[in-house]
Amino acid sequence: MKFKIKSWNSVAIWKWLANDDKCGICRAPFDGCCSDCKIPGDDCPLVWGVCSHCFHMHCIMKWLAAQQNQICPMCRQDWALKSDLP
């Protein structure tokens, strides 16, 4: 071996795997956070419904708490969390 790699410091960026670039409820970008949070990232995560729509977790919780029927605000189907993610 002419070259032996001793260590590797790699760099990667991450993005939410969302089908839109903004949250349908607060209209803030998924890169940012919901209107109640200050710092985006792990403290303000996204959630996906089985209907494939995606929101800030805080936003959809607030929406569901205010509704009688647990439906997705985008497509009016019953809201349920999707378990198997891409």
């Binding site: 032996k4 790699i5 590797w8 790699s10 993005k15 939410w16 969302a18 996906w48 993610l85």
Partner: protein, 762 residues
Amino acid sequence: MSLKPKKVDFTVTWNALKRTIEGVVTLSKVPRVEWNDRFTDVYSLCVAHPDPFTNQLYSETKEFLTRHVQSLREQIIQFENNSDLLKVYHEMWIKYSQGVSYLNKLYSYLNQQHVKKSKLSEADLTYGGIGDLPGHMVEIGELGLEIWRLEMLEKIKDNLIELVLEAIRIDRKGDSAVPTTVVNGVIQSFVAVEDPKLRVPGDPSTHLTFYEKSFEEPFLRDTGQYYQKEANKLIETCSVAEYMEKVIQKLHEEDMRARRYLHPTSYAKLSAECHRRLVTDHASLLHAECLQMVENDRRKDLANMYCLLKPLSGGLGFLADTVEQHIQNEGLDAIKSMKPETAHTDFVENMVVVQKKYKEIVSNIFNSDQLFLSALDKACTKVINWRGQASQPGQAKLPPCKSPELLAKYCDTLLKKSTKGFSEQEVDEKLNNSIMIFKYIEDKDVFQKFYARNLARRLIHQLSNSMDAEEGMINRLKQACGYEFTNKLHRMFTDVSVSNDLCNKFNDYLTSQNLTTGVGFSVQVLQAGAWPLQSNYPVQVPQVLEKSVHIFETFYSKQFNGRKLTWLHHLSTSDVKLNYTKRTYFITMQTLQLSLLTHFEIQDSLSCKELQELTQLNDDAFTRHLQSLIDCKLLLASSKVSEVHPTELTADTIIELNKNYSNKRSKFRISGAMQKETPQEVEHTFASVEEDRKIFIQAAIVRIIKSRKVIKHNVLIQEVLNLSYTRFSPTISIIKKCVETLIERQYLERTPNSTDEYSYVA
């Protein structure tokens, strides 16, 4: 002794009383017993039976005092036009005023019982204008002083005042022979005999009418004439600097003189008069000298100038303007000729020198006067945001200001690990200076962009000298510009520590799963939104590393839901051990450089074309990284093929592994092309700033209109400027463009009836 009213013989009692009074007002000896008895006499006359003799007593006393003063005046008449007049008058006055005050006590029964009763009420004084009612009584003390004023002062005051003025003139010449007490006593006598009837309660300007009219007025006139002549004499004989010095001294002397001789109400009037004659009348002369003083840094003269011009209304404006212009010139001079390599250091440090110098002058010489502080600020702002002079009006746009970029670079050199070896305090102080410069910068958003890029580079490549210093700087920026401004910088910081945790978790995962990456693997996983990074081209990593990538991706998708990882291999680095050289070398290099090198594992030489096919890099990246390896002599480019341009790489150039590589150090880092800012990157930064500004302005416009519903064009522009000035100063045209865009996108519309009004479209 009985207090009961009884019959009294007025003539007998009065004659006795008169003898005592005579003794009192001439301050000759009055026996104690006699003095005591006279109290009884005054009392018994005032309560005499069947009719009290109050009025008679009062008029007899008045008569007596008048005659006494008249006789004194006859004595003094021989001193008229004689300089002894002052002395004699003073002696008489002291004696008389003292005597009258005793007399006032002697007559206290009369004062209290009769005068008080007949005193006019305030309302009468204000509305009646009754003035000198015949038979109207005043207290005996006041009566005595009034008589003095009428019978003595009014008659000889012209001579008296002429002598007082003469004495003060002599005093001004510095002659110490002036009898201060006498002159002061004479002046004070004018105040003492003030007519109380002329006083309007609550209006102090009426309290000293006699003093002001008869003494102060001629005195001020005389002073004015004196200093007018004096000023002209001085100007002819000495320079402006000396003149100021002398004037300050004279003003000071005059101030002391006022305190020696005058009544306190005159202090301000006197110094105002002197100031008018010595400074205001010659302001243009002083102004003419300002520029020279500022240019030659004549601090003492400037201090004098400040001190003299300050009381003038608007007097400092000219000086402040001169100072501002000079700071601006000096600042521009300081940053004019900078070598491109050291421009960042030169710019900041030269500017700091200029700012500190004038800051010190402003606080020491100009007493931290608001006017001069703002002159300093204005000048610094102009210099720091200087974009060059438009050679013709209406010329094409000036280039963007370089200062934000230079300042960011300066901070970068301070925070980077370097060989310069500044101590912690030095770095701290320099960073503080940077913040001082930063506050003057108008395009703060441009600075932020450059700063973020530099910070990203320092964090990713672990180039920071100290994390504390980094954090300290971010906090300073936060203090200067608010949370919003440093938000992203903070998030970058958080990401670094989050990544460390993640690496630890990953290592635990490897152990638990019995996996190995084969290399010492670490990773920084960063949030796309917070970092100024792009994945500009796909990179094939060397095969040895692919395993790590796969394992980590599996691990990451188990850890987090719904996140997409993008590798930025052009930013990653690796430590490589060279086994083919005589000595063993450990080199830290970029992954791209490594992936080029690893293709020489099997062969020792490859053509450029072959190499590029193997690595699948685009032309630009390929040439840059290959060149960097050739530059550090790890690879050799055969010059046989391209003798014409030995340094230029063509598709046919043969690249060879340098097996005889040697270096003094066995552990080192080869810096890649990426470490330098390319002009494209700079341009890209400016473009993204421009984009961000548009978004910021549009958001501001919508916010303003949403709250106002309807707004005039000019008001809107002003509000936008107010909202954005902490970050940048937008041009009017860009605001207009943003308004157009928003109208197109139907956020707002022009109101139908007006040409310059917008309304919000809900």
